[in-house]
Assembly symmetry: none
DNA sequence: GTGTGCTGTTCGTCAAGTCGAACGGAGCGT
DNA sequence: ACGCTCCGTTCGACTTGACGAACAGCACAC
């Protein structure tokens, strides 16, 4: 998820624009009033909300303060679907001095916790997992066997070395497709 | 949390500066190299890391992409022996309804962050890692091959499915003992 | 009708962020 | 001593964001 966000081509200026306008209208504030409270000019805020421009940190911060929302909320990108990194694909991400390579799979979001689990399963009925609390994300790195895992309707098949992460605040499931299937499961919640 | 952040007087430019430099040095990247990857000039990055300036969203975003961290991490204010769990030992820890089992490897300590890395290596010289900042702990789950890893003088040999964690605020090293060795590395720091 | 108060937009001007180049310094092989 | 490469900083020039004012549109009162 983080990687997806970080790997996005450019900063979501339109998303920021929408977020600001959404938070503003939710509070029934006029553009001018918000600009006054944030100590900005109306023109600056107008351009920002129209999606044009590239605000500075100070400008965005002032808006976050005036709106009473955490800074990060203005730069959030919508949660998206399952992300899969096949075994071997990661080499393209980073390269260090041979014979070693390391790739950052997923940086820890601020305020999040990550519990490390080891799961094993034999072929049979899927393990049905309820929806966890909002914001929960699960990371799965397969060590052995084959798995079919993911949110209901968006399961992906994973083999040894494959990595996937997906939102866990929706119903999801795990199915072992081969005997002795094992995986590391990282439960991330905020 | 939100309130505290939002109520802060001004944008923590110095905190941003420190965060960028911290994430950069954590990756052993030079200022120029990071600037190149982010598509920025060295001067811009230099001023940013010195605390002077007020970067635009595009600039900070480019840095977040190049560093592989979520955008929000750049704008926030801010030890023990080796433990090994051999493949298969974990089943004894917890048992759920067959054919499924799950074991909590390591719960996330309060305030800690965990970054997920995927490391691969071929047999050859060991990767020497410097001592990280105090409190750093590394978790390693082998997915393929064989590894010799751990703090200097206390390395352990690990095979597929094996898990180990050890303090990383001391010099430590990783050596691949078999071709195509791979592992998930969880960097935990506070 | 005209006046007032608000909405959000689009101008020109100025300040500030960003860039490229040149700088001094450290490390290393010759 | 050199030459070379990389480090990170400082300089001037260019680009761009932020400001203030004037703008059109709308609603309501008189």
């Amino acid at each position: 998820m983080e990687r997806t966000e970080a790997a996005t081509a450019g900063p979501p200026l339109q998303a920021i624009a929408d977020a600001v306008r959404r938070e503003r209208t939710r509070r029934d504030l006029s553009l001018g009033e918000l600009a006054r409270r944030a100590g900005l000019s109306k023109s600056t805020l107008s351009q920002l909300e129209s999606g044009a421009g590239n605000p500075s940190v100070e400008t965005l911060w002032a808006l976050a303060v005036a709106l009473g929302v955490p800074f990060a909320r203005l730069v959030e990108t919508p949660v998206q679907a399952v992300r899969v990194l096949r075994s071997g694909e990661s080499a393209a991400l980073t390269a260090e001095r041979a014979p070693f390579s390391s790739a950052l799979l997923a940086a820890c979001p601020p305020g999040a916790r990550r519990d490390l689990h080891l799961v094993t399963a034999e072929p049979g009925p899927a393990r049905e997992a309820h929806a966890h609390i909002p914001g929960t994300v699960e990371h799965m790195l397969v060590t052995a066997g084959r798995w079919l895992a993911g949110p209901d309707g968006a399961e992906v098949e994973l083999g040894p070395g494959d990595y996937a992460c997906f939102p866990a605040d929706l119903p999801h499931r795990y199915t072992a497709l081969a005997p002795g299937s094992a995986a590391m499961l990282v439960m991330e919640y905020t």
